[in-house]
């Protein structure tokens, strides 16, 4: 039963990823394990609830959270041992890994991508590519893990704006699309809507079928299971019919890429 009542959970550990991103490892005392691409509602007492995608669930539930508003700011102030409320997992998650898959992640879109990569690596697949765009080198999250992944899968990173030490590609994520190995892949795009919009445009130019493109949509989500009505995109509820949508399914809805 999906419920509005959060369950208490303890913060096992907190990791500082970047200036404004922290990861929180929480005890998993919920009945259900997540699937890659699903999300939870995290309740910070005295502040409110926010939907956060699962990044990893090996030794507890790991969430990486960017500080963007009131609740995330309060969450960033929490420490190891503190209590949070949690509900979930919610949403449909990413599609099954059927063939070569290209993950295109922008900014804080990497944590959900991580859930996919980790899950399918653990199942023995290496048939994936990651294209990751961050704002600046100091905004890159999971540096150590990205390094580790590159032993198994093809990883490309780009930044919008470089610095003295940065030797990699500079430019938005579409500027590394020439690295895409196979146009017949599944493409999973996670990031700000503007980044997804341009990514889709470029992929279509490359001849990628709209049926092979998946978007992880973001909307205000309060309940998580399709009753509060905030996350409508056309007939769909992002929280329950998404957050991952086949592009061809939603492309004609004007609120997509608002």
């Amino acid at each position: 039963m999906k419920s509005m009542v959060p369950v208490n959970t303890r913060i096992i550990d907190v990791f500082e990823e970047t200036n404004d991103v922290k990861s929180f490892l929480l005890e998993n005392n919920l009945d259900e394990d997540p699937l890659p691409g699903q999300f939870y509602e995290i309740y910070v007492r005295g502040a409110g609830e926010i939907p956060i995608s699962i990044a990893s669930w090996r030794d507890g539930l790991l969430f990486s959270v960017k500080r963007v508003g009131y609740v995330t700011e309060r969450l960033h102030g929490m420490k190891k041992g503190d209590i949070l409320g949690i509900r979930g997992p919610f949403g449909n998650g990413f599609p099954e890994h059927r063939r070569h898959t290209v993950l295109i992640a922008g900014g804080i879109g990497l944590p959900p991508a991580r859930s996919y990569i980790e899950y399918w690596l653990s199942k023995g697949s290496r048939n994936m590519q990651l294209l990751y765009g961050a704002r600046t080198p100091s905004d890159i999250v999971y540096r150590r893990i990205l390094q580790e992944w590159s032993n198994y899968i093809d990883v490309h990173i780009t930044v919008d704006k470089g610095d003295k030490e940065w030797k990699g590609n500079v430019g938005v994520v579409t500027t590394i699309f020439h690295r895409i190995k196979d146009r017949e892949s599944d493409f999973i795009i996670i990031g700000p809507e503007i980044m997804m919009k341009f990514s889709v445009m470029e992929l279509k130019k490359l001849g990628v079928s709209e049926d092979n493109i998946y978007l992880s949509m973001e909307r205000k989500m309060k309940c998580g299971f399709g009753i509060c009505g905030h996350c409508n995109i056309g007939r769909y509820y992002v929280c329950k019919d998404g957050p991952v949508f086949k592009y061809s399914l939603i492309k004609d809805i004007p609120e997509v890429f608002h």
Partner: protein, 303 residues
Amino acid sequence: MIYKIKKDLLKKYIDGLLEKYEVWGPKKIGNDTVFSKLKSGEEFIDARTLLGPKESIYPIKEKIGEMESKEIIVMGIKSCDLRAYRMLDDVLGIDEFYSSRRRNVHFLNFVCTEPCEYGFCSTFFGPRLDEYEMQFTDIGEYYIVESKNDKLIGRDFENATEDDLKILESKMRDFYNKMPPMNIENLHKKISWDDPRYREFSKRCISCGACNFACPTCFCFDTYDDDGLYREWDSCILSGFTRMAGNVNPRNTLDLRLRQRFMHKLRYHYENFSYYLCTGCGRCIEVCPVRIDIRDFIRGVGP
């Protein structure tokens, strides 16, 4: 079974119910008629209220987790409002709080025999329902009472006669003559994302949210922390409804929000459930300070 009860015995019947149950009904406060808890049968009047009794099982604001549920009777609910609950069930039915209250409520609906000023229920299903628990229709000296659950049938109920039913039928014929249904064939296909009227409406809409709060089928709520988690009826006309952290808002102008309201009622919900999320109660028209009229909107939807 089909019963009837003398009108002047209704008060006594309600007083009887009040001995065992919490009973809601329409009553007068000053010059207004409101739907609220009844203290006595004397208070009850058979009248359409400005707002329906949506909050009887779906409180406007409630603390999440502090659910209470008791057996209540909502007496005098109009068919448009009762029909709306069947729609809410399809969405809110999976919510533990809504559904536990829903299981514990008896809706005794009263059929309108005269059209109301803003209503257009005949377009959808009319003033009588096929699904009800006890349905009351005014036929003059008596109410006809159609009952599918005799648990609440009282001592003063008599069996209705063939003649009574004839009166009922003729009353309903009259009703439909006075309120002819609008043509809504394929409305969900005709209604458009680009209708210029959303922008027209946005010029005069004052973002009060009344169309949502008064709508018996609107179910959206917001949640927030206020020394504990609460949920409260929300309105898709408000910009904060979709605004996310960092000031990102997929519906950042009022015309887009008004579009959402019309499209959700007349298209999206239809696509999901094969019926319109509207019962023709007309309340959104009546409570709208600038009289945005969904009937005109429907009539003006292109071919």
